[in-house]
Amino acid sequence: MLMQALAVGLACVLVKFGAWWGAMGWDRPMIASTITGILLGKPVEGITVGAALELVYMGTQSMGGVIPQDYGLGGIFGCAFAILVSAKPSVAVALSIPFSMLGTLIYDLFKFWATSLVTRFQTHLENHQIKAFKRLWNIQAFVYLLMWFLLGFISILAGTSAIKALVNMIPTVIMNSLTVAAGMLPALGMALLMISLWSKKLAPYFFIGFGLVAFFKGTLIEVAFLGAAVAFLAVIGQIGKHTNGNNAQPKTAESAEESEEEDFYND
């Protein structure tokens, strides 16, 4: 179990690094699960479980560093338990949820520490100690990654046998309930996405997308293709509107531009 624990610890570091550095999206459950699968020597399982995990967490996303649920850790641990205790995808999804909550708790603790460092950074600058400033920055980045490594390492080392026993104990009716829940949970993900995209005027587009798949059996690639065309149609009138406005009014006419801006918000 030591090697597996090291592998999951390393997966945590990679996922957390690729989530922040360049915002590469390594914390998306699909990718987090793929990385974990690769490190545990079962990449194909990692990829497949990743799809089930992504569906549950699809609507959760990090905005300005605030993560409502740590979907990256959910992806890692869901995949790890799917592989290590051969849990079904629906059970893996259920097991990932407590870890996704633990992740936000631990990150909150780290953020408190980072907040306490803000004044120290400032003091270093006030004292003209740029080297100390740089050193402190390196330390916090290192501590951040180390923290995730330890979480992955310890959880797998200490928790796997307990989880294995738990998974083997689950009766059929609960197993079925978990499968049903895993099928239903993507609805929450979709609802969360709608919250951030929704406006009354744009609501019909949701139903167009739904109908294209539900009634006409379209694929997502086909919907993306049509979506781009429809989006262009929807804004093209307004593009024309603002260029005309600019041509008619010279740039110095501040008031004219303002009223035009109001037009845009009012229409």
């Binding site: 569906l55 803000v118 239903m184 609802a191 709608m194 919250i195 929704w198 294209l212 798949v213 009634f215």
Partner: protein
Amino acid sequence: MTDTTTTPTFLPDKKSEKRFYNSLFWRSQWLMFCTSYTKQQAVTFSWVMLPYLEKIYGKDTDEFYAAMLRHQDFFNTNVAVAPFVFGVVTSMEKENKENGVEAKSINALKSSLMGPLAGIGDSLLANGVRLIATGIAIGFFQQGSWLGPILFMLLLNIPNWGIKWLSGKYGYKLGNTFITDAMKSGTLNLITKAASIVGLMMVGAMSAQYVTFKTVLKIKSASQVVDIQKIFDMILPGLLPLLLVLGCFFYLRKKNKPVRVLLAVVVLAFVLTFLGITGAAK
């Protein structure tokens, strides 16, 4: 907007300018590290600016430290479009050194840029590009195909890194006039709107594709067995998933926390399965 006749001290030629764009691209990737509750990305904002401020004001000078302290102010924006702010701020710091722009205006500009840029970055990348990339790649993931992760990374990161590269370059070149013009003319809103439209269509499509919610209930009358799910399918294909998504959506809109909705869905799944209304698909 500058008409400097004095020899510039920072980025005097094309070659060093190119080196600056490169360096800014790589350094700005670290922006999320050391996020704090009080000032969000402020510490790392100054950390990214460090070498450029050193070049502009000279190492260990009072001016350098004053500039570093100035950038300890609250900062928070989307990582992909952040290089734009770094570009604008660097060009203004250079201005400040050469012609004495009021330092306060640099901070004012930062705080006016970060909101709209975060909005456009989040809607374009987090909602638009990410949803399209997820929608295209997830089918391959389900089949256990390597195409899944490869496609997702490319579809997500080519626009992400492309925007990052261009926004740094144009931020420095165009200075602070460009974004205010774009905001006034409504271009930013149009991009946000277009991204939201594609995003919503993808959400609708994925709701139909990936939400599984059907009943296994069969009602036995005198001579025949009525399959309730078949009736639902005749009324409207995907009716139950659609109702479930809309139900979650309106529950969330009432300011319920996502975790509470999650628990509600799990509880609902258990109750329905124990009652024999839903069950494992055969």
